[in-house]
Symmetry: C2
Subunit: 466 residues, 2 copies
Amino acid sequence: MLFKQVYQYIVGKIERNEWLAEEKLPSIRLLADELGVHRLTVFKAYQLLKENGKVLVKEKSGYYIRAAHQMSDALDPVQEAAPPTSLGELKNNLSEIQAVPVAYQFSQALIDPNLLPNLFLSEYVKKVFDIYPKLMGSYSSVQGDIELRELLCRYIADKHKVQLSVNEIMITSGATQAIDLIARLYIRPLDTILVERPTYSGALDAFRIHGARLISVDISSDGYDLERVEALMKQHRPRFFYMNPTFHNPTGYTVPSAQRKQLVELAERYRCLLVEDDAFHEMYFDQPPPSPLFTYDTEGWVVYIRSFSKYVAPGLRICAIICRQPVMGPLVTVKSLSDNGTPLVNQKIFLHYFQSERMQQHLKKLRIALQVRCDIMEAELRERTNWEWVRPRGGLNLWMKLPDAFPVDAFLQACFQQSISFVPGTICDPLQQMKPWIRLNYSFINEDQLREGIRKLTDISRQFKA
Amino acid sequence: MLFKQVYQYIVGKIERNEWLAEEKLPSIRLLADELGVHRLTVFKAYQLLKENGKVLVKEKSGYYIRAAHQMSDALDPVQEAAPPTSLGELKNNLSEIQAVPVAYQFSQALIDPNLLPNLFLSEYVKKVFDIYPKLMGSYSSVQGDIELRELLCRYIADKHKVQLSVNEIMITSGATQAIDLIARLYIRPLDTILVERPTYSGALDAFRIHGARLISVDISSDGYDLERVEALMKQHRPRFFYMNPTFHNPTGYTVPSAQRKQLVELAERYRCLLVEDDAFHEMYFDQPPPSPLFTYDTEGWVVYIRSFSKYVAPGLRICAIICRQPVMGPLVTVKSLSDNGTPLVNQKIFLHYFQSERMQQHLKKLRIALQVRCDIMEAELRERTNWEWVRPRGGLNLWMKLPDAFPVDAFLQACFQQSISFVPGTICDPLQQMKPWIRLNYSFINEDQLREGIRKLTDISRQFKA
C-alpha cells in the first residue's frame, strides 16, 4: 500500500511541474529519509513509475522524469479542462454504492424515516419558529448555539456523570464533518493513523485523502488485542486511533468495559489521541452499552464524537464533538474556515425537540422496532443460509461471513440487477481484503420489504454456490 | 512573506519528527529546487531557524536540527497535551474581531435580521413541513436537493441567459464552505493563488492554512490592471484567481463589463481557474451590476460561487457552486467527505421561499433599506471627517482611507472600549499592509444606531489626530 502513496506523491510533483521534465529524481536514500519510509518502499515506487512510463532509467545515473509530451501525447482536452486536483486518492467508496437506487436498501446505515415521529417533529418546528421569530435571519456562533451546548452539558453530566464546560462541546453537521475536521487538523501526508479492521469506510476515505498511512487493529466481539494496540502505538507513534467501540460499524461488536479504561491509559502513555465515534450509543436492544471511553479520560486524550443525527432527526444533521481545550481550540478554527458554524435553524429545532418528553418515548419505541427488524433479518438468514455472524446487541447492521472464496463482487452486481444493495466487506477493510464478508443493514426498510429483500438476496446468492 | 512559509514548513517537519534531531537540513539549493522557490528564500528561512534556536550551524558543514530538549526545556504540559496540528498558520482573523461583542457593529458584513421578513419566513417554514411531512427523517443527496438545483437552473437561465444542467450546480453551506472546498481541492503547500488586494480576509485565511503562496492583484474602481494579471498568470501559473468582482468586499468596487470577457480569455489562455465569488449580486442600489464572468465562460474556466445566504435567510446558509463537470466531479467528492451534503431541511425551506412572490418584494425593499443606510453613513462621515472613499453602487461596506500614518490598531482598540467594531484594512490585505484603511459595514445595525455609532467612532478618531 505505502509505496503507492509514495508513487502518488511523486506523480503529483511531476503533474504539477514541481519536479520538472528531464530532471533527475532524488536518490532513493534521500527520498526515503525525507518521507520517513523504508528505502525499499521508494524503490518499489520508482519501479512503478518506470513501468508506467513516468520516468526513464539512465544506466549508472538514476531515474529521470520523462517530458510531458512523451508521457501523454494525446491528452483528452475535456479531461484537461481543469487543473489537476491536489487530493491524491479522491474517492468515497460507500457513497458510490449508496448512490445506486434500489428497492431493497441494505447498504444504508440509516433509520427508516417512517420510524421517526415526523408529524410531531413538524409540529415542533412550528413551535420553535414561534419562540424565535428571527431565527431565519441569525447566524450561529462557530462553536455552536450556546443554549444547545448548555443542554448537552447537562445531558452528558446526567447520563455519564462527567462534568463538562460549554467550551468543551462543539456542534457539527453530522459525524462526517466531525471526522473530517479532526482529519484536517491532525493528518499530514504519510502520518500514521490507527483504525479498526473492519471499520466505517467513509472514515477510511476521509483519512486517505489526507495521505494517511492506515495501520489496522482487528476488532472482535471481545474487543481489541491490547498488546498489539500498545505495540503499534509504541512503534508507529500514530496521530490518533479512530475507533467506534459501541455497536461498532460494520460488525455490531462492543468493546468491553474493562478494555476501555486500559485504552485510555495507553493513549495517555503513548500520547495518541483516541477519536471515539459513538453514533449508536442509544440504539441498544436490551441494556445500555458500557460508558464511553471519554468518561475515563482525565488528561484530554479522547475526542468524543457523539452524533444525534441518525436517531433524532437525520434532516437536521446535528452532532457534537466533545474534547478538552487544547484540541478544541484549533478544531473551532478549522470549523470556522470550513463553514463558519452549523446553521442556527437546525440547532434550535434540535434543542427543543431533544429535550421533549416525546423524544424519550420515540427512542423507546425505536429501540424495539430496530430489534424486531434485526430479529426478522436474522431469522430469514438463519433459515436460508449457512452464513455466520455474531448477534449484535444494538446498532443498525449485521456483519456476515459468507463461505470462503464466495465471489462477493459478482454477487453485489447481481443484487444491483434485482434492485438490492449491500456493503461488501472489502471497502470496510483498511487492507481492502475481507473478501467473503458483507454488511447488511436492517434499519432502513420496513419489515415486509426486509423479509422479501432477504429472500431475494439469498436466492441470488445460490447462483454463486456450486 | 514566503520565507516564513518555508520556515513553517521546516518547523512542521521538525515538530512532527519527520526530520529528526541532529540531522542535517537539506542544502539550500536542494530545498529551493524541491519547493520551487528562490534560494534566497530558503536562506532567509534557515537564518530565522538559526535565530530562533531551531537549528545549529556547523562551520563548512551546514545546518543541523537541534535536539528537542535543547529547543524547549520547559514545555508547558497543557500546551503539549494534544499532538501538534498539521495546519501551519491556523487563524481566522476576521472571526476574532467579530467575536468581540459590541453595540455598534460595523465589522459584520451581514444584513440586519430586522430587514428580513421574519414572520413570513416562519409561516413559510410551517407550510414546507406540511408539504414534506417526512422532511426531518431524510438526507439530501451530496450534490444537493434535485428540486432546488432545477429551480436554480431555471433562475440562472432566466436571469443570465445561460443554460445549465442540474449536474453543474452543487449546494453548499454558505460561501465559506464553497471557498473551503475549492481550496481543499486545488491548493497544495506553496501553490500560487492570485487574490485581489484588498480582499475578503476569510478567503485569505482559508488559502493560507493550505500553505498557498498569495500573489495579489490590485483592485480599483476601474477593475484590475489586466496586463499585470496576464503577466502574473504567465509567470506564476497560479492554480486559480479568487475574485469578488461585483460590489467587491471590502471596497464595493465592480469590475466593468469590458474587463470581464477579457479575464475569461486570459483564464483560458493560461489555464487558470477564475473563482468568482458573487454574494452581493442582488444587493445593488440603482441598477443591476454587469453579468457575472461565468456567463462569458464557454470552456469551463470559471467556478461561480453564488451565495444566497446573506439576503435570503442567513439562518439557512444556502449557497450554490456553479461549474463544469471536470471541476464539479471532484468537488462533489470533497463535499461528500466534508459533510455528506447540506441538510435537506434547509434546502427545502429555501426552495419554497426563494420562488415566492414575497421574496421578490422583500428584495426590492431590502435594496432601498441598504441604500438609505449607506447614505446615512456617508453623510455622517462626510460631515465629520476628511476620510476618503468611493461611493459604492451596491454591497454592504464602505472602504475608507484614513489620513496617512493613522494608527488604525490603536484606534480599533479604543473603539472596542466604547463598544464599536470595524475591520482594519490590514487583515483584508494579502500583504498585510494597507495601514490607513478600514472597512465599515452599514447593513447590520439600524439607522439610529448607525448615526450614533459613527458619531462615537469619529469622536474617538479625533484622539488620534495630534
